[in-house]
Symmetry: C2
Subunit: 235 residues, 2 copies
């Protein structure tokens, strides 16, 4: 069920969880958590990816594997969002840990993220990380440090819900403009009826009207991501 | 290799091609051609769908199965585009033929279309046709008769290329607004580097710089469409 692994960003100790496949396919994937920190959804995806042959590391962006509720989670997220350079370094630390754990170069790695993690992996791409692919699920699409032309090296897939109040249509449109201007290799999927957190079973019927699990969008986005990753690694 | 079938829209004789599966799955799909008329791409998709168990009919929007080149094709397309009511009736005639050939109600049917056909099947959805699903591949997304709230009954998947000069970003954004305002059940996939006609092998390296075959966008959009259809019919 995964093994805790400690890695560092400067002096900060981060506590991720690594899952190793029975039959490794030579590729590795970083999984980045939502605003509350490393929890069930990221762990579940990490297991699923390991079952498919990927060495998978559930990253920790906060330190000590700590998780937060409500406004504390938002504060933690906002502190990192406010400085894209720090956020990129924090995610890169996870990528470095992954390449070491898996014994593969970053070119044989991808990163997938959810909500805040979706933003975080996009920042990794914007920063020019040499990973093969990036998948963002209901991630925030707007950055204070947009991608510059020619600097994005990873292929990008972003999956978003049209009813996600955290990702309004203007951000979806701006993302397309940003990626196009950056000459990135990108894809976008919009699920018309999906709210925020559509991949997360734990929020189903939750109290927060901004988010809900959407089985169809979850199933289709996961299938799209797996095909995208497979194709990206085979290219 | 398919069988020619004659059906009518009023007095106009249309000449489609039907493909029957060895093991019918009880569902049927209408395939609608590009501006030049019923050609290789639509035929190929019709065969592929029949292999999967669908009764599939390659529709004819022009009459007599006629095909056109260059500006004549554009004229034929524009004549139908100019009157959404006529276009919807023309596509509906194909749907009626399909339900009869397959012996299934429209609720067990879907329609997929390419380029002009992609627009045509979206018009079918906008007109409230009781089909289960609609898939538009590099179809024109703008209509002179936008969908009205509550009138779209089909689930919709639209796949488009960000580099398609016939479908600029403003049309992609307007489509999302239209579908959302109509309260439709819709999805949109944007392939960042794809030009027009990205599913069509025959245009690869063609003389027209607006269009080109894109193997990745073709593979991924086809997989997305098949999953979408399967899920739509199982709902």
């Amino acid at each position: 069920m995964g093994e805790a692994t400690i890695y560092k960003d400067g002096d900060l100790e981060l506590r991720g969880i690594v899952e190793r496949p029975r039959e490794p396919n030579g590729r590795a994937i970083l999984v980045v958590h939502e605003a509350p920190g490393l929890g069930d959804n990221a762990r579940r995806r990490t297991s699923l990816l390991a079952e498919l042959g990927y060495v998978a590391l559930a990253a920790d962006l906060y330190g000590g594997g700590r998780t937060y509720g409500g406004s504390e989670a938002t504060q933690q997220m906002d502190a990192l969002r406010a400085d894209p350079a720090v956020l990129r370094r924090r995610v890169s630390a996870g990528l470095d840990a992954l390449t070491e754990l898996a014994g593969v170069p970053p070119e044989q790695c991808a990163a997938v993220g959810y909500c805040f993690g979706g933003l975080a992996v996009l920042e990794l791409a914007r920063g020019g990380a040499p990973v093969a692919g990036i998948v963002s699920f209901h991630g925030l699409l707007r950055s204070s440090a947009p991608a510059k032309k020619g600097e994005v090296r990873a292929r990008i897939l972003a999956c978003t819900g049209a009813k996600d109040p955290l990702v309004p249509l203007e951000d979806v449109t701006a993302f397309q403009e940003e990626m196009d201007a950056a000459a990135a290799d990108w894809q976008l999927i919009v699920y018309g009826r999906a709210l925020h957190s559509f991949t997360n079973r734990n929020v189903a019927g939750g109290a927060d009207p901004r988010m809900d699990y959407d089985p169809s969008a979850d199933r289709q986005s996961w299938a799209a991501a797996l095909l995208f990753l497979e194709e990206t690694f085979s290219a």
